[in-house]
């Protein structure tokens, strides 16, 4: 009830602002106009929600996107690539060493390595680029002693970005390799 009234008030203010200035209000006016939300109850619910979601949220980027969710976090860390490159940077190698250690400790885990690209360039080339990135990560993990049979790769190119703004900070987040723990599955 309070929330609705608040939204309504904000809406009225928004149009009044538009009428006066002819421009949308700057973002800084937003907190002032937004309703005093029932914060205590939201805070109480917050810790419970992720735990409930964790079991049902897929860790695969595509499976998660099908549910309209962000993929569940993986115990293995993402690696990042330079624009239009698929060679492993020093930081990526360090991350892969840590990921290899985890895989040695968790010897039954199988991993699907996702290769992703940023949005620049053509979709088809970016899918190939994502495939090469995933392959580079897999090959390095193999040299670190992880069995090839435990590692599969898939490319999503630029199709499943984590960040949708058009700037280098965002593009860098999208040029990634992800490591999804998958249960052992029979070959289809």
């Amino acid at each position: 009830m309070t929330g609705r009234l608040g939204t309504l008030t904000y809406g009225v203010m928004f149009f009044a602002f538009l009428a006066l200035t002819g421009c949308p209000p700057p973002a800084t006016t937003k907190p002032e106009a937004s309703p005093p939300a029932p914060q205590p109850s939201a805070a109480q619910k917050a810790p419970a929600a992720p735990a409930a979601r964790k079991s049902s949220t897929p860790s695969s980027s595509l499976e998660a996107a099908r549910k309209g969710q962000a993929p569940a976090p993986s115990p293995l860390k993402d690696i990042y690539f330079n624009y239009d490159k698929y060679d492993l940077k020093t930081e990526a190698r360090e991350t892969l060493k840590a990921n290899a250690d985890w895989l040695k400790t968790n010897a039954s885990a199988r991993v699907e390595i996702e290769g992703h690209a940023d949005e620049r360039g053509t979709n088809e080339y970016n899918l190939a680029l994502g495939a090469k990135r995933a392959q580079a990560a897999r090959d390095y993990l193999v040299t670190l002693g992880i069995s090839k049979e435990r590692l599969s790769t898939i490319s999503y190119g630029e199709e499943l970005p984590v960040c949708k703004e058009q700037n280098e900070g965002c593009w860098q987040k999208n040029r990634r390799g992800r490591f999804v723990i998958i249960s052992a599955r029979p070959a289809s």
Binding site: S60, G121, T122, N123, E124, A128, A131, K132, I154, S155
Partner: protein
């Protein structure tokens, strides 16, 4: 199958439309094509209702509007604004001698399209005529019969005829575009729509990534790539527009990307990721690998057939950056075609064989280029703000469809092959990309 009935209308159309041709004199060819040519000023009159009933369906305006739009899209005509027309379309005649050419010359028209229609129940007859106002002569007249809903196709057929009279080659306005769009939801889906935006049909429905629709040369089916619902890797599928049948051709772990049918329909060239490599393969029409075409450890992707089927243009990063190469299928030898710029992708071969269009990067933005297939200096043909990508040639090689985000989101556009007259085709509210232009529809 729900899809089946969607195509019944299409099939019915193909067999229902019959033409009665009245050939009149024609001698105006070659006047409007070429660099620096003036756009030919033409008037497209509303059609006269020759039947007993009212124009309930807006056929008079509907047909005139479509012809006017096609002529404008071609870039060769300047269609005069209807508000300037003097004569009353329902009171003046449509044959020589039954109207006054001075009503048209005085407003600056050099060409004139007039016509009439007769709707009896669902049976539609349309007569369309093109006149040379300057000489006061008829150029061509045609009579079409079909069903009421065929009025769009009839209008496009006459627009193609007008273009034939002026250029010696029919227009391409009875064609379709296959493309992907995320306007309907979270994922890109494959659509097919007539070039005029009508008859839009969603081909894929599954909530997954769907990409790279590509027409079969016969215009009856399309190849596309989709991340399967059960398999994790993307596979190649064939969708038959006439039967609604969807057939899996290629799957398996690793990428199975972007199949393109050879001009004779017998082969498919596509990208497969096998044994840790991304290469181009030749497959038969059932999806069985015939031959591996590239063996380079770098990326090899995006094959495009030459119209004679003897060569493939493709993208390779073997030099360190993505560049366009051309391969002779007979001996597998590839030569590099592009040297300028650090990013050249998505080649597509002109149906006339002489040129290859592709996407290249200039100062951080992407633009369409063309280059002679034998090699030479590339020509940049888009310059607008934003990115311009995914070129696809019209079946006559005189136009290129592409996607551009110049207005914010990616929408489909078409332009003349030299880059002139860029016009937006879609405005879906989502991103429309990966256009593939069909052959001419019958």
């Amino acid at each position: 199958m729900v899809r089946l009935y969607l195509f019944k209308a299409l099939i019915a159309f193909f067999f229902a439309l019959s033409l009665f041709v009245q050939s009149l004199s024609a001698q105006v060819r070659g006047t409007i094509v070429g660099p620096g040519a003036e756009r030919y000023p033409i008037a497209v009159s509303l059609l006269r209702n020759l039947g007993p009933g009212e124009d309930g369906g807006g056929l008079s305006e509907g047909i005139a509007d479509l012809i006017a739009r096609d002529l404008t899209l071609s870039g060769w005509f300047r269609v005069l604004d209807r508000s300037a027309y003097i004569e009353h379309p329902q009171k003046s005649g449509i044959t020589l001698g039954s109207f006054d050419f001075r009503d048209w010359s005085v407003i600056g028209a050099e060409g004139l399209v007039k016509g009439g229609y007769n709707l009896q129940g669902d049976e539609l007859t349309v007569e369309l005529r093109l006149f040379d106002v300057y000489q006061g002569k008829p150029i061509v007249g045609k009579k079409y019969t079909g069903k009421a809903k065929d009025f769009r196709r009839i209008a496009h057929k006459f627009a193609d005829e007008i273009i034939f009279q002026f250029t010696g080659t029919p227009g391409v306005f009875n064609t379709s575009i296959a493309y992907v769009s995320n306007a309907g939801g979270r994922f890109k889906q494959v659509y097919v729509a007539h070039l005029d935006g009508s008859e839009k049909t969603q081909i894929t429905k599954d909530p997954t990534i769907n990409l790279f629709p590509s027409w079969n040369p016969d215009g009856r089916s399309i190849l596309y790539s989709t991340y399967g619902y059960r398999e994790r890797a993307p596979g190649l599928y064939l969708f038959n527009l006439f039967t609604g049948k969807d057939t899996k051709l290629v799957s398996g772990s690793g990428l199975n990307l972007g199949g393109r049918r050879s001009p004779d329909g017998k082969f498919i060239a596509m990208t497969l990721e096998r044994q840790g490599n991304v290469d181009i393969y030749l497959l038969d029409q059932t999806g069985k690998v015939v031959r591996r075409l590239t063996e380079d450890p770098a990326i090899d992707v995006s094959p495009a057939w030459s119209p004679d089927g003897d060569r493939l243009a493709f993208v390779s990063s073997r030099s360190g950056s993505p560049q366009i190469y051309v391969m002779e299928l007979a001996n597998g030898k590839a030569r590099r075609l592009t040297y300028a710029g650090g990013y050249n992708t998505s080649p597509t071969w002109s149906p006339t064989g002489d040129k290859i269009a592709y996407t290249g990067r200039v100062s951080g933005r992407f633009h369409i280029f063309t280059v002679r297939a034998q090699g030479g200096d590339p020509e940049q043909i888009t310059f607008s703000s934003g990115d311009n990508e995914d070129p696809s040639w019209s079946p006559d090689g005189r136009f290129i469809a592409f996607t551009s985000n110049r207005s914010g989101r990616y929408q489909l556009y078409m332009m003349q092959a030299g880059g002139e007259n860029q016009q937006r085709l879609t405005g879906s509210g989502g991103d429309d990309t990966n256009p593939s232009w069909s052959s001419r529809l019958e």
